[in-house]
């Protein structure tokens, strides 16, 4: 099980490294989206602070969404996805490795840059820490639910938009708890409960997302 | 019986627009859906 996970993870990260552009573009998109809002709403500090959580979280959601179709589509095109389905390795391990690679190449960078954007929105330093923690915990949920969405829409016309249509409603809890953690810490409340709920959400999304992605891949390649 | 007469019934205590607005749209949705399903059946049956 772990051998398969390690093999697929190594391969996907190697491919991601050789195509740095993909991950970088997602990051730049995130920064641009977050920087556009003040141009629209005005840069009054108090207002920015209250908006920060929602803007950064929705930005992270959209950025993660951009990179989802690539998760399986490239492997479908060159035939390697088919090989993974008939291989000697359990499919959940393979899919888990692909999701982990997706998170490492998109989710993690988003989490690391989120505090920088937090500064742009005038967040105090302890809030930046909560923001980092929340996005670190929340982005794996996006990758897991996103993987299920990407597998369901594999090879379908208009897969990009459709994936968003399927995945975004399912990411509402992650958005609520993630952004809620930041809002709570800004208003002096403890962010603890939000972060633990986000962790619980991750615990639920792991089996559910993997099951759905594996089942959807088998259906897609039928 | 709650209503003195038809006029009072339609006025619905001043909130007629809202009450009848929601019932009218609901009835419209149901009628529309029933009609759409009937049409779909007609088209499916057209050999």
């Amino acid at each position: 099980m772990t051998a398969a996970f390690a093999a697929v993870l190594r391969r996907d990260l190697l491919v991601a490294l050789r195509r740095k552009g993909d991950a970088l573009n997602v990051l730049i998109f995130f920064v641009i989206v977050a920087s556009l809002f003040p141009l629209g709403t005005g840069a009054e500090p108090g207002q920015l602070r209250t908006m920060a959580a929602g803007v950064i979280w929705v930005g992270a959601l959209l950025a993660a969404l951009l990179s989802l179709p690539r998760l399986f589509a490239a492997d479908l095109a060159d035939g390697t996805l088919e090989q993974m389905l008939v291989s000697a390795q359990p499919l959940p391990a393979v899919v888990a490795a692909k999701v982990a690679a997706h998170w490492l190449s998109t989710g993690l960078p988003l989490a690391l840059i989120a505090p920088v954007l937090g500064l742009q929105y005038g967040l105090p330093s302890d809030a930046l820490l909560v923001l980092l923690g929340a996005v670190l915990l929340g982005t794996p949920v996006l990758s897991l639910v996103g993987a299920a969405g990407a597998a369901l829409t594999l090879g379908v016309r208009g897969a990009g938009v459709l994936t968003g249509l399927l995945v975004l409603p399912l990411c509402v809890p992650a958005l609520v708890f993630g952004a809620g953690a930041l809002t709570a810490s800004l208003s002096g409340l403890a962010p603890g409960p939000h972060l633990s709920l986000l962790g619980a959400l991750l615990a639920v999304s792991l089996p559910l997302g993997l099951w759905a992605a594996c089942a959807a891949l088998r259906v897609a390649l039928d | 019986m709650n209503w003195g007469g038809a006029a009072e019934f339609f006025a619905m205590g001043g909130h007629g627009a809202f009450v009848w607005g929601s019932y009218a749209v609901s009835a419209l949705c149901i009628a529309l859906e029933a009609w759409l399903v009937a049409r779909r059946n007609r088209r499916a049956r057209a050999a």
Partner: protein
């Protein structure tokens, strides 16, 4: 072996059975609706605080219940279809989705019109209304996915997976929105505190809910018949013609 245990429920066998059931459900829906409206408007008293506008609950609450219930039934058919690999289950799930979406829209519309006289704004970011809106997105996503996939069998199975993921998420979404609502707004503005329920009010709502249920079954059976004809057209045109001429 087990997978063809349900072969008697093949689409072609089910088609006439559904045809015979539709009138029964259709008429009972109509009668129950009349009874429910009568109770709602002529028996139920005026509400002490909200006056007459509360009478919208006789359509709003049944629609909200049905929107949740239909998604559950849809997921049930979906799960059945995945496990037993029966074609009819996928068709039933497809037949239910539009009706569920319609009830969700009706619940949202009537909820908004109820909010205006009561809280002065059409859209109230109340926990139940907000999760109802997300439920509408789940329905639309389901229907969009099934529409986008050409091969009917793949569409059914992909839709089934989505419906099962969705049904697990509905309580989570509802809880998270509830949590979000109490965090931001406090519980003052909330539909969850239904007006003090006089017996007749509750009776009116239950009868209307039953009527909505009968209606949902009737219209879904009618839609599944159309789907069966569409699907069998390519595979067994002779049977389709026999049904049409019968």
């Amino acid at each position: 072996m087990f997978s063809n245990f349900f072969s008697f429920a093949s689409p072609q066998a089910f088609y006439p059975v559904a045809g015979r059931m539709i009138p029964w459900f259709g008429w009972s829906a109509a009668l129950l609706a009349l009874a429910g409206l009568y109770i709602g408007f002529f028996v139920a008293p005026t509400d002490a605080t909200q006056g007459e506008s509360y009478r919208i609950i006789f359509i709003h609450v049944p629609a909200a219940w049905m929107s949740m219930f239909i998604y559950l039934v849809m997921a049930l058919w979906a799960g059945l279809g995945l496990v037993l690999n029966t074609r009819l289950s996928g068709m039933m799930a497809s037949a239910l989705a539009p009706t569920g979406a319609m009830f969700t829209f009706v619940a949202l519309w009537s909820g908004a019109l109820w909010g205006k006289p009561t809280w002065g704004t059409y859209w109230v970011w109340d926990a139940r209304l907000t999760s109802e809106l997300i439920l509408l997105f789940l329905y639309l996503g389901y229907m969009a996915l099934k529409e986008a996939i050409e091969d009917p069998q793949r569409a059914d199975r992909a839709g089934a997976i989505l419906a099962l993921v969705g049904v697990v998420n509905i309580p989570i979404i509802y809880f998270s929105v509830q949590w979000w609502n109490t965090l931001h707004q406090g519980a003052s503005v909330s539909l969850t505190k239904a007006p003090s329920m006089a017996m007749t009010m509750l009776a009116g709502m239950l009868v209307m809910a039953l009527a909505a249920w009968m209606y949902a079954i009737a219209v879904s059976l009618a839609r599944v018949r159309a789907i069966i004809l569409e699907r069998e057209r390519g595979r067994d045109m002779a049977w389709v013609r026999s049904m049409v001429n019968a």
